[in-house]
């Protein structure tokens, strides 16, 4: 059982999280009065049953993973890939947090440059020019052409 979990940890933990989430949501649904709780309860219980079955198959079934499941687990294994993904998540979250402070498009220029550099775009000037260029196009399209009002920031 532990061997299976360690060989495909992402599959196991995501399925477990969905299973536990479905159980918690089913409990909440049971508290909603009358018709409001009926459909959510059915769906959450269905989800819990399906996920539970998936977990049982994973842990105790005598069946191999499908080729797709094997491929995605192999792709997740490389540590440098994991670091790039984590860095991407941090940068995206930073972009969303900083945008109301700096201005959406200024923050976009910074984010784009930083993200491109993280993903290996070289030389630095190419990343910088691409980052500023894409942010400028976004500003021209959303801010000027479509006239969408964006949150004010220190810059733009």
């Amino acid at each position: 059982m532990l061997t299976r979990i360690s060989s495909r940890p992402v599959d196991f933990f995501v399925s477990l999280a969905i299973f536990l989430g479905a159980l918690a949501a089913a409990y909440s649904a049971a508290q909603y009065p009358g018709a409001a709780g009926r459909w959510p309860l059915v769906i959450m219980l269905l989800l819990a049953v399906l996920c539970g079955y998936q977990l049982v198959l994973f842990l105790f079934g005598n069946r191999a993973p499908t080729p797709l499941e094997e491929a995605v687990e192999e792709a997740a294994a490389a540590p440098r890939a994991t670091m790039r993904v984590v860095a991407s998540v941090v940068l995206i979250l930073g972009f969303v947090i900083v945008a109301p402070i700096l201005g959406l498009f200024a923050a976009a220029a910074v984010f784009l440059t930083a993200h491109m550099l993280t993903l290996g775009v070289r030389p630095f000037l190419l990343a910088l020019a691409s980052g500023i260029g894409v942010a400028a196009v976004l500003y021209l399209f959303f801010g000027w052409l479509l006239g969408v009002s964006m949150p004010d920031g220190l810059i733009i």
Partner: protein, 505 residues
């Protein structure tokens, strides 16, 4: 008939022509970029059209759809990297022709086959959708409820990976669809006190997050970071009228097959392409050439995958049931312009629908002309490094999600759904059933509530009410059969994988 003619006139106005051309070109570029699929492209563009009128917005998005499905074949043929999943079947023989110095001819065949497949399917859409819509007006709540369940089980069962995980993904989507206020009682569910979730999880933010942000993280893993240094020499592109005529059986058969496949929920352009290719092999003059650069294989795959465009729009427009992620994204586009897809759409908004349908004819023609004339330059798009594509998609997602409702919380929903989508993909769960469940879940609940009221008023149980309607019984049987098929298929796939593992060991 007046509506049809009026629609054609609007579609041929200069603004509409310009939008169809722009959409087709943008679609080709988006489809050609490895890592940017048709679904991702449309998910990114839907929020952008919010400021436009409904008719030009739909014309633009429809043209992008047509161009993007074709565009995937460019990188598939030239670089052996499919730009969209639908191009995988073309890649096998297309790249073989490129290695033999006939990449241009392969692309020429892709272009013409895609155009023909697309036109046949749009013709089917023009005639079939209004017919189905008029019949669908007779469909009542119990049938609608089971149509949704049937669509969800089919979407879960068909497609890549484990059917069980497909069904779980469908259930996840239905579960997400319960967020927000119950339409009848007003009871607020799963909002954790957040006002922005009162009307439910915003479909556009969820769509953009699930497909765009998750794809950004997939690209960030770096498997496509290497930059191509040159595009292979294309040579002659135009395949010649004689060659096209000699392949007429393949493109006509594949066009019809692709249109039919497009009707089936969950069966997208990728499945259609493989079916088209395998049927082409069955009737091929030279089946031994398949896999080594066969024009018959390319035409069979490409005509089928573009024929899915019109086919998939038939249930979406006439019943309001999107069958795949792309039409789910298109449905999102309709919803943000206040249009509710379904049987009444053809009677309520013919002035929007018919120009949209006719513009698909124009878009198919445009992408073919643009491709034949400009492929030598357009094909260079595949040289853009994914290190530039991924951040651009992320920035566009954030800006687009905010532009939609001007609510900052929407961006957090988008990012959260993106992280969730990434986790699902890494665990082997498909995303299309999730977004379909999110869209169709409220429809299912609403119709179930109505059925319960009817049943109570008639002193019947819900099951008795279902069994009293023959069409509902048919749908129930189909749903059960699909579930049985999906579990059986899951068993077979895993046993085959297990046997292969034991044999390799």
């Amino acid at each position: 008939m007046d509506n049809v003619l009026a629609g054609a006139l609007v579609a041929f106005q200069p603004t509409s022509l310009l939008l169809a051309a722009a959409g087709a070109v943008l679609g080709i570029l988006l489809g050609a970029l490895p890592g940017v699929s048709a679904t991702l492209g449309i998910a990114l563009l839907v929020p952008l059209t919010f400021g436009m009128d409904p008719t030009p917005a739909l014309i633009f998005i429809g043209a992008v759809y047509c161009g993007a499905i074709y565009g995937g074949s460019i990188s598939a043929v030239l670089l052996n990297v499919p730009g969209t999943p639908a191009a995988v079947a073309t890649m096998i023989d297309g790249y073989a022709m490129t290695k033999a110095g006939r990449g241009g001819q392969a692309l020429g065949l892709c272009t013409m086959a895609s155009m023909i497949g697309g036109q046949v399917s749009v013709l089917a859409l023009l005639f079939a959708a209004p017919l189905i819509a008029s019949v669908a007006l007779e469909i009542q709540s119990s049938e609608y409820f089971w149509i949704v369940l049937f669509a969800m089980t089919t979407v879960g069962a068909i497609g890549e990976g484990s059917p069980l995980k497909g069904l779980i993904a469908a259930a996840i989507g239905l579960a997400l669809g319960t967020i927000g206020a119950h339409p009848m009682t007003g009871t607020v569910r799963y909002t954790f006190g957040e006002l922005a979730l009162y009307e439910g999880l915003p479909v556009i933010s969820a769509l953009v997050g699930l497909f765009s942000i998750s794809q950004v993280l997939i690209l960030a893993e770096g498997h496509g970071m290497s930059t191509q240094l040159a595009v292979p020499r294309l040579g002659r592109i135009w395949p010649g009228w004689g060659t096209l005529w000699s392949l007429k059986n393949h493109w006509s058969r594949s066009s019809i097959l692709g249109t039919i496949v497009g009707l089936i929920p969950g069966a997208g352009a990728d499945i259609a392409a493989f079916i088209g290719r395998s049927e082409a092999r069955r009737y091929a003059r030279e089946p031994e050439r398949f896999g080594k650069g066969s024009p018959e294989a390319i035409v069979g795959a490409e005509a089928a995958n573009n024929a899915v465009v019109g086919g998939s729009l038939i249930p979406m427009l006439s019943l309001g049931i999107p069958g795949n992620a792309v039409t789910a994204a298109l449905l999102g586009g309709l919803l943000i312009h206040g249009l509710i897809p379904g049987p009444r759409l053809f009677s309520d908004a013919p002035d929007i629908l018919y120009p949209f349908i006719f513009s698909l004819f124009i878009a198919n023609l445009f992408f073919a002309v643009v491709a034949l004339v400009g492929l030598r330059w357009l094909s260079r798009i595949v040289l853009v490094p994914q290190g530039i594509v991924a951040p651009t998609v992320a920035a566009l997602s954030v800006v687009g999600a905010y532009a939609f409702r001007n609510i900052g919380f929407d961006i957090w929903i988008m990012v959260s759904m993106g992280l969730f989508g990434y986790a699902l993909r890494k665990a082997g769960y498909p995303l299309a059933p999730v977004i379909l469940g999110l869209i169709l879940g409220p429809l299912a609940e609403e119709n179930l509530d109505r059925v319960l009221r009817f049943a109570t008023a008639n002193d019947m149980s819900v099951m008795q009410y279902f069994l009293s309607r023959w069409l509902t019984v048919v749908l129930m049987v189909l749903t059960a059969a699909t579930l049985l098929f999906s579990f059986t298929r899951d068993l077979k796939v895993r046993r085959r994988a297990s046997a292969k593992k034991q044999k390799d060991a």
